[in-house]
């Protein structure tokens, strides 16, 4: 006899709905299924109108993030067996919903780009000079920040972003930190303009839930507080060393 689990999904059609509604589907229960499998089953067998994003199914692409029972999760890495009594799936919190479980990620993508999450060099050294060398310790200083997959779960977990959408947000700052800590990078002075703007690191009140929600073990809360510390330190040292001038 097949077992079932009730999967309640938030639906929203911008052409007909003023606000979202909830629809419950009975999905066969399989202990080895993840939440995304249940959603795929709904799409294939129960309701072809359901919209959602997914791609790799293995926790790398970062596109299947949704709120499961009110908490942001990668649905491909969250087992159905943790929700044997039924579950509610909603689009990632704090983002504008375009349709059903699909959210608008433009704001995040623009913010991500604004902190230049790539290696910035004042002068690229010629290929003949060989590769940029790094010690293991230098790599360790930023390694965990580089695991970010841009899934935006941290934004959905962040009440500050929920209250004030202008906030630069956890992942963007964590990735900025990743490059600021990279010994090959020389872009810190460009990034600090955005990072230390009022809508940047200072909006963060250190609730810390971004780090708890991250499925890849990144610690954005740490990145933000360290950036605050380094920024203030830089200003204090700069003011003490050269009170009347801009360094460089």
């Amino acid at each position: 006899m097949p077992e079932f689990v009730d999967v309640t999904v938030q639906r929203y059609n911008p052409e007909t709905d003023d606000k979202p509604r909830y629809q419950t589907y009975q999905v066969p229960y399989r202990a080895d299924w993840v939440v995304l499998d249940a959603i795929l089953y709904i799409k294939d067998h129960l309701d072809a109108t359901l919209s959602y994003r997914w791609s790799c199914r293995m926790g790398i692409c970062g596109s299947c993030g949704m709120n499961v029972d009110g908490y942001p999760k990668l649905t491909c890495s969250t087992h159905l067996r943790e929700y044997r009594q039924g579950l509610t799936i909603e689009p990632l919190a704090n983002f504008p919903v375009i349709r059903d479980l699909v959210v608008d990620i433009d704001d995040f993508m623009a913010k991500l780009k604004s902190v230049k999450p790539w290696i910035v060099r004042e002068l690229e050294q010629p290929l003949g000079a060989g590769e940029y060398l790094q010690s293991n310790n230098q790599i360790d200083s930023f390694r965990q920040f580089s695991s970010c997959i841009n899934c935006m779960l941290c934004y959905a977990a962040c009440p500050v972003y929920g209250m004030e959408n202008e906030f630069l947000g956890p992942a963007a700052i964590a990735l900025a930190r990743r490059y600021n800590l990279d010994s090959r990078d020389e872009g810190a002075e460009e990034r600090v303009k955005v990072l230390a703007a009022s809508e940047g690191i200072w909006e963060c009140s250190f609730v810390g839930e971004c780090s708890a929600a991250c499925p890849k073990g990144v610690d954005p809360a740490k990145a933000i507080q360290q950036t605050k510390f380094d920024t203030v330190n830089g200003f204090v040292m700069g003011a003490m060393l050269m009170p009347f001038g801009n360094r460089r």
Partner: protein, 129 residues
């Protein structure tokens, strides 16, 4: 779509020096208050009334201790940093609780109160006894 240019793509985006100033005091205040305030409350607020003699034992000892300018300075710095630390946290708490109309007004109110409190503390400490 250029209807609304995001703040981070503006050409004049720059670090908020005011925020970094208050955060500097907030961080230091949090640390100083964490290390120095517990023992002050423990001795003068709990052990004292329970019968342990201490510097606030009676007005003679209280006045004698406060007569030392270094004690006055220590207490003033403790008050100043704790007040500013508190103002910073209260500013964020009030924002969390829904006071989001004008962050500028909120900051003036919170940091202003901390500065006024510090001035009051300075006047009291340095005119007593």
């Amino acid at each position: 779509m250029a209807a609304h240019e995001p703040w981070h793509s503006r050409a004049d985006v720059k670090p908020a020096y005011g925020h970094s100033f208050w955060w500097f005091l907030f961080g230091n205040g949090g640390g100083i208050a964490a290390v120095f305030l517990p023992v002050v409350i423990l001795v003068a607020g709990v052990l004292g009334p329970l019968g342990v003699k201490n510097w606030m034992e009676d007005s003679a000892h209280f006045a004698w201790t406060l007569g030392n300018p270094l004690v006055k300075l220590f207490l003033l710095v403790l008050c100043f940093l704790t007040f500013v630390h508190a103002a910073h946290r209260i500013r964020y708490m009030l924002f969390d609780l829904g006071l989001r109309g004008s962050v500028v007004a909120l900051e003036w109110a919170c940091y202003g109160a901390a500065i006024l409190g510090t001035i009051a503390a300075a006047i009291l400490l340095f005119t007593t006894p």
